[in-house]
């Protein structure tokens, strides 16, 4: 299909995008599965045992991709929320809303796997490492976004208010990360740091990249599924929704 034949603006209406999303979802699940299997295989069977940390380091194959995704999703979410605010497009705001819980999940996963890594390696469930602390703050930012949206009854106003919050947050994320890093290096002379992971063997890097792709595909699949639910909820009063088989079920 040539670009000109696809009417891109038509896709920006919930009505047009709903069936398209439905068709895309299974593909993303499949991709997530493929990348996941490949990544886990690399991570658990191919990558060598680390000299200092033994096998417990392997949690980074979950921890690092989750961190990357949590930050990536926040930026994407803020971008689409901003689009919705600037151009008054409903679908953009709905997409931002759908992304938020997945991003929060990634941040939570990063924190949880970070704790699981910390215990056997450094003896503590929580170390005030710069990355972990920033992830915690990022989780709060996600929760704030979702809470603000949930607290406002009128959906369009909720979209816009949450968009302003997301944009303020996105500007703050680098500031927060920088300040936490500063704070961390000043207080901890020790070598406790998850950013200083064991020197990367090629296979380790591949494992992390594959897992990152897996999480990315999963995130898209999950967010698209959520988006379809949001569309149905918001457009419940329209003709095309009432004609859907789900509506008469």
């Amino acid at each position: 299909m040539s670009y000109r034949l696809i009417n891109w603006f038509k896709l920006s209406s919930p009505y047009s995008f709903f069936p398209l999303a439905g068709r895309m979802i299974p593909w993303f699940w499949a991709l997530a599965l493929v990348f996941g299997v490949a990544g886990l295989y690399m991570g658990f069977f191919v990558a060598p045992t680390d000299a200092t940390q033994g096998d417990s380091y392997r949690i980074i194959f979950l921890h690092v991709p989750a961190s990357w995704l949590s930050m990536f999703i926040y930026i994407v979410m803020a971008f689409w929320a901003g689009m919705g605010l600037a151009f008054n497009t409903r679908l953009s705001s709905m997409w931002a809303l759908s992304l938020a819980p997945t991003g929060a999940l990634m941040a939570f996963l990063s924190l949880w796997t970070g704790a699981l890594w910390g215990k056997p390696t450094w003896g503590a469930w929580w170390v005030w490492d710069a990355r972990l602390t920033s992830e915690l703050i990022l989780l709060f930012l996600y929760l704030g976004f979702m809470a603000l949206h949930a607290a406002i009854d009128e959906p369009r106003r909720a979209d816009r208010a949450a968009a302003v919050l997301a944009l303020v947050g996105v500007v703050n994320v680098p500031i927060i990360y920088f300040s936490v890093k500063w704070w961390n290096t000043l207080h901890q002379g020790s070598s406790v740091s998850m950013t200083k992971a064991p020197s990367m063997a090629q296979t380790m890097l591949w494992g992390m990249l594959l897992m990152a792709l897996c999480f990315w595909m999963y995130s898209i699949a999950a967010a698209l599924t959520r988006l379809r639910a949001v569309i149905l909820e918001r457009e419940a009063h329209t003709d095309w929704v009432l004609r859907l088989p789900e509506a008469t079920a």
Binding site: D153, E154, P155, R234, A236, H237
Partner: protein
Amino acid sequence: MLTVHNLTCVRGTRPLFTGVDFAVAPGSWAHVRGPNGVGKTSLLRILAGLAKPEEGEVRWNGEKIGGEEFRRELMYLGHRAAVKDDLTALENLVFAAEMDGATLSREHAEDALQRFGLAGREDLPVRFLSAGQKRRVLLARTVTRRAKLWILDEPFTALDVKAVDFLANLVAEHVKAGGMAVLTSHQAIPLAPGQVVEL
């Protein structure tokens, strides 16, 4: 000249009103009517630029509303008294004027308040005034501020007969002098009939 074109307002998923079209020329006024809950207040807020319509647009002298010029020529009085309870009537008037970057001397503010029957109450915190008196403090702004377009939401509420007549006179004079007004009211408006916008 205020022009309203194809205005549609939506609350949640429910459309309040659709395709509203009318214009208010200098020297005329519009009476917005309709049953309770039909969206009269929403329409007035859209006209004032406080809310955005789902569809359609409002234009002032051909330009979209909301700019500084428009706000300078607009006076909007909504449901709420828009006065600070902890300030006196005088202070409320003076601060309201200063918010537009203007000055209002004490004598002139007192004068305006006296016109509205608030003589002797200028220095009381507005808390101690009755609902009708509170409304009149705000209405005193019609005298102290030049505005071409008056958008008044239920302005006659809680006013006694004399005050209703006085306000009606004010609006009539404003319109006669080339101003414009858009009003809603549950009561009969004691004015020469203007345009009726039925929602």
